[in-house]
Symmetry: C2
Subunit: 420 residues, 2 copies
Amino acid sequence: MSAANAFYAQSGGVTAVINASACGVIETARKHRDRIANVYAGRNGIIGALTEDMIDTNKESARTIRGLMTTPGGAFGSARYKLRSLEENRAEYERLIEVFRAHNISYFFYNGGNDSMDTAHKVSQISKQMGFPVTCLGIPKTVDNDLPVTDTCPGFGSVAKYVAVSTREAALDVQSMSKTSTKVFVLEVMGRHAGWIAAAGGLAGNGPADAPHIILFPEVAFDESAFLKRVRDCVRDYDYCVIVVSEGARYANGTFLAEAGTRDAFGHAQLGGVAPVVAGMVRDKLGFKYHYAVADYLQRSARHIASAVDVEQAYAVGKAAVQFALQGKTSVMPVIKRLSDQPYRWRIESAPLARIANKEKMLPRRFISKDGFGITAAARRYLQPLIKGEDYPKYINGLPDYVALRGVAVRPRLKTRFVI
Amino acid sequence: MSAANAFYAQSGGVTAVINASACGVIETARKHRDRIANVYAGRNGIIGALTEDMIDTNKESARTIRGLMTTPGGAFGSARYKLRSLEENRAEYERLIEVFRAHNISYFFYNGGNDSMDTAHKVSQISKQMGFPVTCLGIPKTVDNDLPVTDTCPGFGSVAKYVAVSTREAALDVQSMSKTSTKVFVLEVMGRHAGWIAAAGGLAGNGPADAPHIILFPEVAFDESAFLKRVRDCVRDYDYCVIVVSEGARYANGTFLAEAGTRDAFGHAQLGGVAPVVAGMVRDKLGFKYHYAVADYLQRSARHIASAVDVEQAYAVGKAAVQFALQGKTSVMPVIKRLSDQPYRWRIESAPLARIANKEKMLPRRFISKDGFGITAAARRYLQPLIKGEDYPKYINGLPDYVALRGVAVRPRLKTRFVI
């Protein structure tokens, strides 16, 4: 069997460890040059395939590829670009296969979330129909932790660690100043649909006196009076109150708290997100001095405080995807199977993309405490192992030494251009 | 000479390394038990002295005191509480001396910023007048880096490192998504009066194409059209734009950008701080997709990414304060004297509090690039050494193992109570 090429692309929101998965793919492929001659990476994700704009990873040194292990963001560029259904836009799928055929690409590795798994699944089917069967593998990635079947999604453990560490640190600050200054601190975290990241903030403390004193989940309808009572009680009992709020926190009618805010002079919804809305309630109704932080991209790019378990799993799913492909598996995704909580043991298995595509794994209600403001022991058992271990990048002059690719383009072979 | 006691207090906003200064004070005092029998720490800063609420540090183990080296926040509690002038409130000063006399306290170590140096200076003078001379030492601490005479202020180097690292990381995230998603990212940092912290963000990049592309300093009057033009140019040339904005950024007339925002339904100024205001301009005038982060307390409590140089200096000033006191120096503060930039060499000297109290060191104009949006080579030479080295805390189960004090109270000796 002569060697073919592989195509790899990053999709959707990037993470602190998605490049570790890329490293797993490329390093593993390089060990099988007899089967995989080269890995072409899509510049800006799948758009790079459609526009025939691919990065020749054979032009990157082993040292650079290894450096991906500790570099956040998406080194090849990612894209928020969902292929439509075959009925809606057959031309996109045909173009993909055309590009794959022109570059002798027989393997498609797609590193993303639910949507991307759907795309990988469709490409597998269509390539067969079109007489150029491509081996299609999904590689899980999402800070939202919402892919089914797999125990966790690479990217989540590092955000979870960042949020837990930051909550613990900020809490010490607020606590020490509470006598004469800030009483209430609000930290806004990601997770529009599910409260996985907010739940991770709960790891910062161990008892009711420890921060965070209140977590606001998207899964629990926001009850302003219960919330304000809890804040007041915390300040009475502990002299301060730390709140972790998910950007997806919402009222019973489904309105996001962030949307329920005020409008500016132009009539635009206030830009402040959910943290200032929550802080505003505390100010207006309770009169406490407050501060708030919005972690935003800092949380998902914080490679400097990545979880070692997360980094290891990110690499493992990339590596396994190549191994599965070489074993002839297609339309599958490597998943993490938890074998035990403590010590945390896991292994990689494969699961059909059809079981994963377009499905969301929500935070189970049993992970949220009865009062809706905290996490349960079950949640801790699940979350704790995922933030374990530190995997520090190398530093030069006080700053992480993140790699940049040469990014040499593969020479286009098609005469036609494709407009996105 | 029989041993007396020392009083130590933390003042004003806390930092990631103020406890390292406390460690320097206590460990050094413990080496001189013949002179300093015990260090009493004010609970909640100077308020603890006024209310006779002090923590007996002899009741803390050597291990706990060492643990202060890696614990952020103010372990003894801090306070925003400025003693008024002697004319305005003589009673406070008299009360202080009364408490010091009752507890045989001959040494006063005050760990804070400009205000605190003023207080320490006054206490020194008044104690002499009242016939109970107390040896008064200031210990520098402030993330704002605005104390004169000293090369830098412990606390600043770690915030600087946090901001530089976070900017670099978030920039990689934004850059990788810019083709189809966020084009402009805004990071709000502290520094209401001076742009030292914002300047540190400039260390994240090395050339015009590198983030941050724009820094908004309090020192440079905000010019909306010049700013928007620069954002547009960056997006045209680099496909994305990263902005670091100081909370103190202001218009030529002195109005803070943060205050110039919109008002909510109650007529309150919008709570969003400066980042959403800047992001709002980008949206309204240029239409780019944006994201913003507000680092707030996360930046000054981020012990997990503290600068090793900063930690070392924080300890050194605490240690030197005790040594100076034992040498009979009073009304002085240990300052850091820079001997060379590269390699960074420094030593501790002492400077009279009178030269430091109530004075602010502003960011020099020569540290800001001509166009007002970046830092100069001189700024880099100054800033670079301050973020050097990592000094990681110990982790347990994926979280930093920060110490908590037993906090045993010294038994009060006065019959009178003092109401703050």
